[in-house]
């Protein structure tokens, strides 16, 4: 028997960094609900494309708006859109994934095959379709990303549940007369919860990037609204004159995706490496 040795590994450090970073970004985003250094709808042609200064910590954009304030609002949009898309994904995807497994070979073919179509269509294609049918809006964006979330998380749920289903503890629960949703809720879900949380977080990162890219191409958040993607879109023509309006939202986006993925992989590795290791 080897003695298990628990030491703070690189993984734990990563997980901690991820959590702290994600919470910090979330805090900055939600702070913008109550307060931003400058109102973001206030145009100030006199203060166009300024660099970093005491008045404007991260400079101003082509319309003279404060980049820090815009970034804070943009972060909020990222989190709200990604959060709602993930919520839609979890709400519909987890039961769908469990149903796929319960439905036997054909259930899996139908549900996994169907979600496969969604995943391969990509949300970009879906957003274009939705935008063509209605008009580009934040709602469209959430629906498109949410549908992708349903497909992604249904597959993740199915994949996480499948190996658990054959375990003897599940057989024991069946012997005790449990079945269907009771079995899933009492026995299966608690065992795959960390994995599902990890899948949801990494999908959330995807959704945040998706929101930015759709807004960047003009299919997402529209002009008076704020989004990191929209900031990038507006700052792109004047990039050579002033880099900050591009760098700031780009970096913020990177940090959001990085933080969420750090937490997701951290959770995944902790579950897989820690619990059953000899």
């Amino acid at each position: 028997m080897t003695t298990a040795v628990t030491a703070p590994t690189l993984l734990h450090v990563r997980l901690r960094i991820g959590v702290v970073l994600a919470l910090l970004l979330l805090l900055v985003g939600f702070l913008s609900v109550a307060w931003t250094p400058y109102p973001v709808d206030q145009l100030d042609p006199a203060a166009q494309l300024q660099g970093a200064s005491a008045a404007h910590l991260l400079g101003t954009d082509a319309h003279g708006r404060d980049v820090l304030s815009l970034m804070m609002k943009g972060l909020l949009t990222s989190f709200v859109v990604a959060g709602i898309a993930t919520a839609i994904g979890l709400f519909a995807g987890v039961p769908l994934g469990a149903a796929a497994l319960a439905g036997g070979v054909w259930g899996q073919r139908l549900i996994l095959g169907g979600s496969g179509v969604f995943v391969s269509l990509s949300a970009l294609g879906m957003a274009i379709l939705l935008a063509a049918a209605t008009a580009p809006s934040a709602l469209n964006l959430m629906v498109a990303a949410g549908l992708l979330g349903v497909a992604t998380l249904a597959r993740a749920t199915c994949a996480a549940l499948a190996p658990q289903r054959g375990r003897d503890y599940v057989a024991a629960a069946r012997l005790a007369g449990l079945g269907g949703w009771d079995l899933v809720r009492r026995h299966l879900l608690p065992n795959v919860m960390p994995r599902l949380v990890a899948a949801a977080l990494s999908f959330m990162a995807t959704a945040a990037l998706l929101e930015a890219s759709l807004s960047f191409v003009g299919l997402g958040i529209q002009a008076p609204g704020s989004s990191l993607g929209l900031m990038l879109r507006e700052a792109q023509p004047v990039m050579t004159a002033q880099a900050l309006p591009v760098l700031v939202p780009g970096l913020a986006l990177l940090l959001v995706a990085l933080a969420l993925n750090l937490v997701a992989t951290g959770i995944r590795h902790t579950v897989e490496g820690g619990r059953y290791a000899a």
Binding site: M1, T2, T3, V5, A7, R167, D168, Y169, A171, A172, A173, R174, L175, A176, G177, L178, R186, H187, P190, N191, M193, R275
Partner: protein
Amino acid sequence: MLLEITDLRVAFGDVVALDGVSFSIDKGERVGLVGEAGSGKSLVALAIARLLPKAAVMTGGIKLDAPSIAIVRQDDHPSPDPLKRASELVADRTLLEALGVPADRFASELTPAQRQLLLVAMAIARKPDLLILDEPFVLLDAPGQRRLVDVLAARTMAMLVIGHDLAAVAILTSRVLILEKGKVIEAGPTGDVFSRPSQDYSKSLIAGARIRARTLMRSPIGTDLLDVNGVSVTYPDRQRIFRRKPAVTALDKVSFTLRRGEALALVGADGAGKSTLARLIAGLGKAKRGTLAFERMVYRGRDLPRLLRKEISLVFPDPRFAFNPELSLGASVTEPLLLDENHTIEEQSERLVEVLRAVRLTPDHLDLYPRDLGLYDLQCLALARALMARPKLVVLDEPVRLLHNRQRVEMLMLINRLRADFGFSAIITASNLELVRHIADRALVLDAGRIVDEGTPGALLETPGHPATQAMADARLPEVGIGVVAPVGRQSSRARL
């Protein structure tokens, strides 16, 4: 000297895992290392092979004068290259055949026991000067153990055999060391140590390996309780891209009757269909043909009526997987009470306390999680769970297979006592006829899904009627501690042919 270890110490932080271990192995010598879980046996092997975990601090001398060594580590999931056929990993087909490993199968298609044997074959085939085997017998069924013992005994290389299975170590090795909490407390020629141990700990270890009395308190055998009538089970053919594999027949027209109060053993090698039958009786899986009848109520497996579910319970072979890791043990153990909703809370807790007391555990155990307990305690809780609903029939699927020698004996005695106290009928599966001798009134021998022999375990061992029974009888290893340790003969393997 091939290997000389002097004053080996291994520590993890403040925890000393090995404390001053010294021994040597000569060319061609076979040495055994015996001790209970946590005694540090595996660390000795890892230290020799320089595979100690990073956190371990090692001092002392290991002088290895062997050009090549091979080590087979202890692993619940032995994993030779899954994409290679057994014959690609070990060219020597006679060796594979002697171990019972199908040469033309991919490693991924083998059972864990066969994979374990394949790893040992790979180690042997390299003809190392020193072969280190860490618990090589754990995953094997009784015939598999015997085959491995026979193969190893015929080799000339030096070996270090680590194990808790005293019988196998006794037969293989000429010298043995007994390890307790990281210290060698006794060492000497195997025959001497096992027949005349000097330390109290070794005495209890060796005495514990011997099965003592059987209980005499049994309820009289009465009318029919369970009737299995021509049951066949096939596993659906695994579909491949281009060709369909033929369906696997797990059970083939199995019929037998269990009487009230009886303890019936289903004995067979791995893959004979024991577990499939046990699970079917308990209400898992489905019979393709034939029916089962419990007190005249007919069912075919998972359609076991809810009313009957509380009358039959099942104990799984590996208690580590039989409990939900995320649920407290108390919640798991009381789960069968869901089948019988007419009880007040007082009755339920009364029953829980009674059942826990019967398996010698306390209510404190109920707040723990499966990862907090060892195999033996978990298996006791599995028994407690099986008894919660007061079943008339308890099906025990290889209840002692994973337990260490001493725990095995304790568990068998516990099952006997529970049967006397609770008066249930029992079906026990095992790969070892010798073990069930002490708990079963009658045994059925299964081979490739069919019942091929029947009788009392004693009679089957004395006069085996079928080759499969013969193989079971041959698989017996001489008991340790009684007189001389006999050298391994070849006669057993010839008798099987």
